[in-house]
Amino acid sequence: MGNNVTKDVQFKRYLKLELLPTPWCPGCGNGIVLKTICQAFYEINFPLQGTVVISGIGCAGRSAGFFNLDSVHTTHGRAVPVAEGIKYANEKLNVVVVSGDGDLMGIGGNHLLHAIRRNTNITVICFANEIYGMTGGQVSPITPKGVKTLTTPEGNPDNPIDIQHLFVGNKSFFARTSAYHLSHMKKCIIAALQFNGFSFVEARTMCIVNYGRRLGYKNSNAMLNHYKETYKINDNAEELAPNEIGILKGNFQADEQLYQ
């Protein structure tokens, strides 16, 4: 217990506390993911010097500026290739991308496809809120079918992308987790950071203001509850069902003990 309290304080060294509060709405899930990333950094003792965080544009993209280390806030969709340039220029750096689902899978989708192919040794943490939060709540590549958004007033006619399929049969790492399952999220992030190759964590998180509210959730706790009720953990899965979170099989490569 005492140990946990220390940990709880220690992860803060990865944040520029003087810049808080963040620009996010009250109840936004982004803070949960940001905090969990820092906790993961702390647990595997990522050096402040020698680690670089890169983001694209969007609510999630703003998180880069809060890390207490060198960070780059790029253009919409281009965080992954900027990060790859950094990694190929200096293999010793730990290179971590933080961004939204629209940024990474929509406008940046082609880069993602090719980063997986190249298996560039970087980690991408996707704040997957199923919506374009920053621009007011338009449909995203992972908005479920039928869901009403500003730009799908009759309900989203399309099936969402299930990004895990890009990873199947590849050497790269994929995990899905949720903002309700905090220790699972931390485990996934640590496994991703320790993975030697391209790693992607799809962290389902809440946009209450421009998404959840319109879907009838009273507050972000109700959205967390939804994650709790929906998602079953299935680590080491061949493939994750829509109601499953977990790490895809073959992706346990690093020190397994650390994240058991």
Binding site: K16, A64, T75, G85, Y88, L93, H111
Partner: protein, 340 residues
């Protein structure tokens, strides 16, 4: 180094290595592909073929921030795709070099033929106000020299510098003696991974985003602009040939087309910018001595418009379009505009 027969694009590749470039990223496109084809054989340089030109310049930005001198090379269609990240590199003050070997546009146009249609795009292609440094050599030897100039200017200004070429000079073979004793400007800013800086395309003050502070934005833009002007003064390259016969006409041309202008050296004085942008005072001073100014270029008057704006006077356009550079045609066109 001894004499070598080199293609323009090979000269760019060789010079980039001499300038200390350690990272190149690009996507194949005529007439620039020989640059990446050549660079992959230079073992000291990390070369990536990316999925498109957007990721090409994105990786170059990343590599530069990580401490390496970096470059990309393309032609019009790819240059168009790079525009958003060019603005990012200006805003984040990232030194890098972009080679644009121009071909006939718009769109896919005439891929193998030379043009000079991307002149305005160099300075206004990205959104917002920014103040790029742009060079445009006119021979294989100059492509070599000014590739190094471009790297130095990039380091000096901490900005993306554009090296223009065209299908003609980039595919030209000439014998040159590549020098390696140029002054080389090296990186002073510490690489990524050594601090807690935040590089952002948002308006900012140092590492802090300032998204609604007009005073801060004005200060930022003024500083960025002045920095570019100060750097440009140090690389203020141009060629001015006063006519030995009496003339009241100054013929301005650049790049491939300026090579044909030499045929008219006995009729007109000739001015050839190598530093295309920013346009500095020398042109103004020289232009004052002439009643008539003709701007001959392979577009419908892009540089001419800039010159008019800077000189506050009308100039005569002489567009040479469609990739055909014919002495006969140009002679006729010149006699047409001169007698007018």
């Amino acid at each position: 180094m001894s004499k070598q027969l080199l293609q323009g694009n090979q000269a760019i590749a060789l010079a980039a290595e001499v300038a200390g470039m350690a990272f190149f990223s690009g996507y194949p496109i005529t007439p620039a592909s020989e640059i990446i084809n050549d660079l992959v054989n230079r073992k000291q340089i990390k070369v990536l073929q990316m999925e498109d030109e957007i990721s090409s310049i994105a990786t170059v930005i990343g590599a530069s921030l990580a401490g390496l001198k970096a470059m990309t090379a393309t032609s019009g269609p790819g240059f168009s795709l790079m525009q958003e990240n060019i603005g990012l590199a200006h805003m984040m003050e990232v030194p890098l070099v972009i080679v644009n070997v121009q071909r006939v546009g718009p769109s896919t146009g005439m891929p193998t033929l030379p043009a000079q249609g991307d002149i305005i795009q160099c300075i206004h292609g990205s959104h917002g106000d920014y103040f790029p440094i742009v060079f445009y050599p006119n021979s294989v030897a100059e492509l070599y020299t000014h590739t190094i100039t471009a790297f130095n200017a990039a380091e000096e200004s901490l900005s993306p510098v554009i090296l223009l070429s065209d299908a003609f000079i980039s595919h030209l073979y000439e014998t040159i003696t590549p020098q390696s004793d140029f002054p080389i400007k090296n990186r002073e800013r510490p690489p990524l991974g050594s601090g807690s800086r935040h590089f952002t395309g948002l308006s900012h003050d140092n590492s802090l985003p300032k998204t609604s502070d007009a005073d801060n934005y004005r200060k930022l833009i003024t500083r960025l602009r002045e920095k570019q002007l100060i750097t440009a003064q140090q690389y203020n390259y141009y060629e001015y040939r006063e006519c030995r016969n009496e003339t009241d006409t100054l013929l301005i041309s650049y790049g491939a087309l300026s090579r044909i202008a030499y045929y008219f050296k006995n009729e007109f004085s000739l001015f050839r910018p190598i530093l295309m942008f920013p346009i500095l005072g020398d042109l103004k001073r020289i232009a004052l001595q002439y009643k008539k100014i003709i701007v001959m270029e392979m577009n419908t008057g892009q540089y001419a418009g800039e010159i008019e704006r800077i000189l506050h006077r009308e100039v005569t356009l002489l567009p040479v379009l469609g990739g055909r550079i014919s002495l006969e045609e140009i002679k006729n066109a010149l006699s047409g505009v001169v007698t007018k």
